[in-house]
Symmetry: C2
Subunit: 151 residues, 2 copies
DNA sequence: CTTGCCTCTACAGCCGCTGTAGAGAGTAAT
DNA sequence: ATTACTCTCTACAGCGGCTGTAGAGGCAAG
């Protein structure tokens, strides 16, 4: 007797990636088109689990999809030097560190802002005052922190 | 003689917010509909500069637009207790701290991953190995590889 | 046979903008 | 007055990385 075919739901729970996300990955060609059963259901195998787990780990570490694409490409050329892999990882580390710095600055400012507030009416609220006039609140000059919120 | 009317470009440079972003804020009712000149150009005044600056500062601090909406609402009721303002700020601080923790964990793992890689072919690349199997990577003694990446 | 979850496709929506196209308005220099 | 140039207008699509919806069909257990 045959083993039961792995459907998308099974793959989903094995790799820890939602069904809809798997279909999305397929639509952007991050996961290959799987075989289909007669009734049209997607059928996966162990290599799918591996690939999807790889993608998941990389996403967990914040690698953008495009980097993951590159990593998978590189993986398929095992004789090449791994310097390019290293470079992608270092780029990601630099990115994480950048966001870390920005968030630390944010935390400091929010803390200062909240600490200064001693309650009372909205009219005298230091939190709102800080937001209205940055300079009143800041101890040091930083650039804009736009774009910090993802991830 | 009258002062020249403030157009969207002037407001943009005064508040440090892009023209397109101002129009976007208007479209989501975060900025009110401004007066228009005869030819249909948006005309702003000082209160617009203040409001937009407030929004910008709050965005810089990572407040989501919906929170900013709430803050502006509260601002217009100056007699109220500022506890609700405080609560919004604290929620934001909690959010920032959460992301900070996540990023710190990410940084540690990326560092470990990169430090372990000693070059060579893609086939033996520890970076790819880590991504393929998370658990292989977490076992390393904490701190042993620290510092290998600096400088 | 019914129940109840699983899977299918196709498409809209999320956030917070950013970019595009094509047209009209305003200003400065010739 | 004409040219050249910038600014502004509207409307809509696109970004990343999914998530959610609707409506239909598949499949196994009781």
């Amino acid at each position: 007797m045959e083993l039961k075919a792995m459907t998308i739901g099974k793959l989903s729970s094995r790799a820890g990636v939602k069904v809809t996300t798997i279909r999305y990955y397929e639509s952007i060609d991050l996961m290959p088109q799987p075989h289909r059963s007669e009734s049209g259901q997607r059928i996966y195998d162990e290599t799918s689990v591996e690939r999807l787990s790889f993608i998941r780990h990389a996403r967990d570490l914040g690698f953008p999809v495009e980097s993951i694409r590159d990593l998978i490409d590189l993986q398929s050329k095992p004789d090449q030097d791994c310097a390019s892999v290293d470079a992608i990882a270092r780029r990601q580390l630099a990115n994480v560190r950048y966001r870390l710095n920005q968030l630390e600055a944010l935390e400091a400012e929010l803390k200062r802002m909240i600490a200064a507030c001693e309650g009372g009416s909205v009219e005298n609220c230091t939190v709102l005052a800080c937001l209205s006039d940055h300079n009143n609140c800041r101890e040091d000059e930083h650039g804009r922190l736009n774009g910090l919120l993802e991830g």
